[in-house]
């Protein structure tokens, strides 16, 4: 074996070898804490395969982890021919498929895309002898878990010789997973550097700063380094700023930063240039950072929809970063919890939450069924049951016995068709289904595109952009703040859009899979991207809307993907059909919808308006140059041709020689500007009739109750209630409300939050406490919201915001499995008693 054994094996490594690991032909599931040597165990298996003239694969959920693995292995194993395969599946990427590499490194998403065309890639898939799946507990992740689970099953069916080696540090139901994988298990809790776990308690959130400074200071005094995990990007920045004020060399890291910025701070930490790093969860999974102490600052984390308690698994992932081999004799993990948090010890003693199949999500299961049929690995309902479902973790964990309902749904959605042949019934994808499978799109997204195509006669550019932003794939979903409504008013009120003229209830109809919060977020995303096409830079928009340029760029990329799909779907739907229901190929000019989808995609990608689309035809003009030209007033190839080289050189900051090349290319571009369907200048006929801008508000309201805060109050939980004290959580921090009652039984509330201290007597926590005490004024206000009349979407964002969220549903009887239902019953009783 060419992988050098380190001078002394760690005990788990030695133990694993005694189990015959090196000679084994079995699948393995290895569960060990960070630093116990799991990666080495994987490297032995990989090297064994490399010696045998077959190939090995390494799979991880994040590109950052895969790239780190590549860098490490390039350094240490020069005899391995390494290949990196990450990124979205495109035609160009398919040409960049594995060739002669012996060790292939994938993100799960990328490998899944190759398996969707498994016959084309059979040569190297058949050569795989082992696949190492790092962070295999991701099987339980609602977004990443399903593709991984389906991929494992497909890989095993396409290549039954393949061995799987799963690695995890936090998998409590390892035996269940091992049984599903048909793997042997190796479980250890040994760590090279022991970790001391501590809990520090605080009475008020403001006390956390002092605790943090004390803990950080203590470690820095001993020349150690500290990682601080927080629950939001803003918090990471704020805490880093606070520590910097104390003279500490600190940086922050989160997903809102650009790749370059993140890499810079990570490199600085690795090189020992930083004393403290403050980060959100992006770093928790596997990416290697050394630190003596880990401080988990926030016991509540945000999952994209709401705040909830930190999970045991996540705590373990954070804590696993503590203690550097070769530097620290002991690592420390410090968890900050409020004094009244009764279950803190759970973090130290309980097992992480079990990984539960993400195929329990309907959307995920529908998507995988579609992929299964598209790849012809299954061709009938029976095949789906036997070939696919029986091999899933979903089925092993009790997933429904029949996939019939899901198949029927996909047939109804025109993504699958069923045909009879020789007394058998077979399933195949329709052309729409093939688009969904090839582009890894949710069936709901295709359904939405079809819906819009069929129900909107002449969709404007904004309509198509909004549709794309409604898709599940249009991430990240930007948070929507009530106060941003006025900021977006100009676009909302002045942009022609059939969809904005629809009532909000159209979007929220059952079967569309859209709820209030995602709808609001989609509108915001569409407005921002539309403003980008009108000349606002990404950086400016990020600043205006309190978000990050990296998020907007990622959103732009993902929306571009959906717009690609929109163009294909619209093109398909425009074609006449044969008697069998198949679309005929046709050479006619693109339909209005298809042309608009193409246009808005280019506009978003380049950040330019409609009338500058001609610039995208000129080779060498990318988004940055196009924007510079538009700002300088050059919008067409003709204007580019006619400009002086000197002027162009200055605008584009190029040498005159390069500029003349561009002008020459522009001469060859045949662009007539308004290509009928493409350029649709706003028509005054399309604008809604109105005389004044409407204010997007909720109507008359008591002065001392802010609707924004009342709505936020609905998201909060009462963790403890006594006559005098309530503990409230559900926001970024838990808070305490003290209640005093006078002789007339009138209550006054005091909150320990910053908002209250700044002079807001009815902060959201107080409002929540009042609701808990059945405050009639508040209940009447809530009832008023129940009766909001539906309006066009462009006018009803405020009402939508108020209505968003499960708690609101519970208060108004739409969802009774939430604690807010107590209030509903109370209000109903009150009405009855009047």
């Amino acid at each position: 074996m060419n992988v050098p054994m380190q001078p002394k094996l760690f005990p788990p490594q030695a133990e694993l070898l005694k189990h015959g690991y090196l000679q084994s032909e079995d699948n393995w599931l290895i569960c060990a804490p960070t630093g116990a040597g799991k990666t080495r165990m994987a490297e032995w298996a990989v090297d064994r395969v490399v010696q045998s003239d077959y190939r090995a694969a390494y799979l991880a959920p994040l590109r950052a982890i895969v790239e780190e693995r590549l860098a490490d292995w390039t350094d240490r194993f020069p005899h391995w021919q390494l290949g990196l395969f990450t990124g979205r599946a495109t035609k160009k990427a398919a040409r960049a498929a594995p060739k002669d590499e012996t060790v292939l490194l994938f993100t799960a998403e990328k490998l899944a895309s190759y398996l969707n065309n498994w016959k084309r890639h059979l040569r190297w898939i058949a050569d795989l002898d082992v696949v190492v799946i790092d962070e295999i507990h991701v099987l339980g992740d609602p977004n990443r878990g399903a593709p991984l689970e389906a991929l494992i099953g497909r890989l095993q069916r396409i290549n039954p010789f393949l061995r799987i080696i799963g690695l995890s540090g936090t998998l409590s139901n390892h035996q269940e997973i091992a049984d599903w994988l048909r793997a042997r298990t190796f479980v250890t809790d040994w760590r090279p550097i022991p970790v001391e776990h501590r809990i520090r308690r605080f009475k008020r959130p403001a006390d956390k700063v002092e605790i943090l400074l004390e803990e950080v200071g203590g470690t820095l005094a001993e020349d150690g380094r500290v990682l601080v995990f927080v629950n939001s990007r803003r918090r990471a920045e704020a805490i880093a700023a606070e520590l910097r004020k104390q003279g500490i060399v600190v940086d922050f890291n989160h997903a809102g930063l650009s790749q370059k910025q993140r890499a810079r701070s990570q490199d600085a930490l690795k090189a020992g240039e930083l004393q403290v790093m403050v980060a959100t969860s992006t770093l928790e999974m596997g990416v290697n950072f050394p630190a003596r102490k880990v401080i988990i600052h926030d016991a509540y984390t945000f999952d994209g929809e709401r705040f909830g308690p930190l999970s045991i698994g996540r705590y373990r992932q954070f804590a696993g970063r503590a203690g550097r081999a070769g530097y620290d004799r002991q690592g420390e993990s410090v968890l900050l919890l409020p004094v009244w948090h009764r279950e803190g010890e759970r973090y130290l003693t309980a097992e992480p939450e079990p990984a539960r199949s993400a195929l329990f999500s309907t959307d995920n299961l529908l998507r995988e069924i579609l992929v299964e049929i598209a790849g012809r690995l299954s061709i009938s309902r029976e095949h789906l049951e036997v070939n696919f479902a029986s091999r899933t973790l979903w089925r092993a964990q009790g997933g429904r016995q029949s996939l019939g309902a899901y198949v029927s749904h996909l047939i109804q959605a025109e993504l699958l068709r069923e045909t009879e042949k020789a007394e058998h019934t077979y399933l195949s994808t329709t052309a729409l289904g093939r688009i969904a499978a090839q582009m890894a799109l949710s069936p709901y997204t295709i359904g939405l595109l079809v819906d819009v195509y069929r129900s909107v006669d002449a969709p404007t550019l904004f309509d198509i952009l909004l549709t794309a932003c409604l898709a599940r794939e249009a991430t990240p979903k930007l948070g929507f703040a009530f106060q941003e409504i006025d900021q977006m008013a100009d676009v909302l009120l002045d942009t022609p859009s059939a969809l904005l003229d629809r009532k909000a209830d159209w979007f929220l109809a059952p079967g569309r899979g859209i709820q209030e919060k995602p709808l609001l977020s989609a509108v915001k995303c569409a407005v921002l991207l539309f403003q980008h096409t009108q000349g606002d830079s990404i950086e400016q928009l990020a600043a205006d809307y309190d978000t990050y340029p990296a998020d907007l760029r990622l959103l732009r990329e993902h929306v571009g993907w959906v717009l690609d799909a929109a163009e294909r779907v619209f093109g398909l739907l425009a074609r006449p059909k044969t008697d069998d229901g198949e679309e005929r190929p046709h050479d006619a000019a693109p339909s209005l919808q298809q042309a608009n989808a193409r246009s808005i995609k280019l506009m978003v990608q380049y950040g330019i308006p409609t009338d500058a689309l001609g610039l995208t035809k000129v080779p060498g003009i990318g988004p940055k140059r196009a924007q510079a030209l538009v700002v300088a007033g050059i919008r067409t190839p003709a204007e580019l041709r006619d400009a002086t080289p000197e002027a162009l050189a200055e605008i584009l900051r190029l040498k005159p020689g390069t500029v003349s090349g561009l002008q020459k290319d522009a001469r060859d571009v045949d662009w007539t500007g308004d290509n009928s369907a493409q350029a649709q200048p706003p028509s005054s006929d399309r604008l809604p009739e109105r005389s004044n801008k409407q204010r997007l508000r909720t109507g008359p309201w008591p002065e001392d109750i802010d609707p924004y805060r009342l709505r936020r109050a609905l998201e909060l939980n009462i963790d403890h209630a006594s006559v005098e004290v309530l503990r409230i959580s559900g926001g970024a921090e838990p808070h305490r409300i003290d209640v005093a009652e006078d002789g007339l039984r009138r209550r006054t509330y005091t909150c320990d939050c910053a908002d209250f201290k700044k002079g807001t007597p009815n902060c959201k926590h107080v409002l929540r406490a009042r609701l808990e005490h059945h405050d009639q004024t508040l209940l009447d206000l809530l009832r008023r919201w129940q009766d909001l009349k539906p309006q066009a979407l462009r006018y009803s964002l405020g009402e939508l915001w108020i209505r968003s969220g499960r708690t609101f549903d519970a208060f108004h009887g739409r969802d009774i499995d939430y604690q807010g239902s107590r209030f509903l019953k109370h209000t109903q009783t009150k009405r009855h008693n009047r």
Binding site: L122, Q156, I158, N159, P160, I379, N387
Partner: protein, 314 residues
């Protein structure tokens, strides 16, 4: 049973071994799915001359390739055997000609092992015609040996025989010639009479005990073991794939024909396919199901050599 080896350009073959048959072109798409896995089961792959001509360079398996002569075309309706003097050719109804020069040239370019052009003698053929075809097969073998240019092309003389006497007659003519091995053809219609085949093999072995002996077209699990124990070094067949298409699951314990064995009751097979695929999988019609079943069938045939080695008592 003596352990024999054969060195080829693409690797060493240790006998006994089963050589799976593959094809190229669009006619048998299941072969395209199975081919990448052949090197997991086999040391050498058999391709007919007819299909080998359709092979693209990137499709060549990374294994020794045994290319036969395509002589089974002599059985096709309307085919004619033409004695050209120095050798004999086959002319098909469509006007295609299969001649020793063409076959040898192709084998020298692509094969590790080549079999000379022979003319199949089916059971019941008139004895005079049978002897005529056998003589022409000898003529072609001699021609190929004389005209072989590539020294590392392993040349097997194709033998047609119908009983032990005809086999002995053939070996008398061929035994001292410098062929690298011998390939016995015409046994496919005789697989239901394994004793006849074994008589022929014994007759060959009495006169040629040392060189590798291949039997074309033997692909039944229990027959293979008997042949290997009886002195055969290798066989080939596409049976594992054709059986999979018909949902036939190979089981070593079943007689000389593959029978449909209810997979619900099958236990004990630890081949990779049976480790992965659950109950009922092999009974479904479908490309991916046939693929899985073909892998199982191939594993069963490949194990025959191992079983034969284990069964042999020295």
């Amino acid at each position: 049973m003596t352990t024999r080896r054969l060195e080829t350009r693409h690797g060493t073959i240790e006998f006994p071994t089963f050589m799976p048959v593959t094809t190229f072109g669009a006619k048998y798409p299941l072969d395209d799915l199975v081919r990448p896995y052949l090197r997991r089961f086999a040391q050498c792959v058999m391709v007919s001359y007819h299909y080998a001509k359709q092979m693209k360079r990137h499709e060549r398996p990374n294994l020794p390739l045994f290319i036969d002569s395509g002589g089974f075309a002599s059985l096709f309706e309307g085919s004619e055997i033409v004695d050209e003097g120095g050798y004999a050719s086959i002319r098909t109804k469509e006007g295609d000609v299969i001649s020793p020069p063409d076959v040898l040239a192709f084998q020298e370019e692509h094969a590790d092992i080549g079999a000379t052009l022979d003319f199949v003698i089916p059971p019941g053929m008139d004895k005079a015609e049978a002897r005529y075809r056998q003589d022409l097969s000898f003529k072609n073998a001699a021609w190929a040996l004389k005209n072989r240019k590539r020294t590392d092309l392993r040349l097997f003389a194709s033998i047609q025989a119908w009983d032990s006497d005809s086999a002995a007659n053939a070996m008398t003519k061929l035994a001292d010639s410098p062929f690298d091995g011998f390939a016995l053809g015409g046994m496919v219609p005789r697989v239901r009479n394994p004793d006849t085949i074994l008589d022929i093999v014994r007759a060959i072995r009495q006169l040629e005990p040392n060189k590798p002996l291949h039997v074309f077209g033997a692909g039944h699990p229990s027959l293979l073991e008997r042949l290997f124990v009886g002195g055969v070094d290798s066989t080939d067949s596409s049976n594992f794939v054709r059986a999979a298409v018909d949902r036939n699951y190979f089981d070593r314990s079943v007689g000389s024909r593959p029978e449909i064995v209810d997979p619900y009751n099958v236990t004990g097979c630890t081949c990779p396919a049976c480790n992965v695929f659950k109950t009922g999988f092999f009974q479904l019609r479908g490309e991916s199901n046939a693929f899985g079943l073909a892998l199982h069938n191939l594993a069963t045939l490949s194990r025959a050599a191992t079983n034969a080695c284990a069964a042999k008592v020295y």
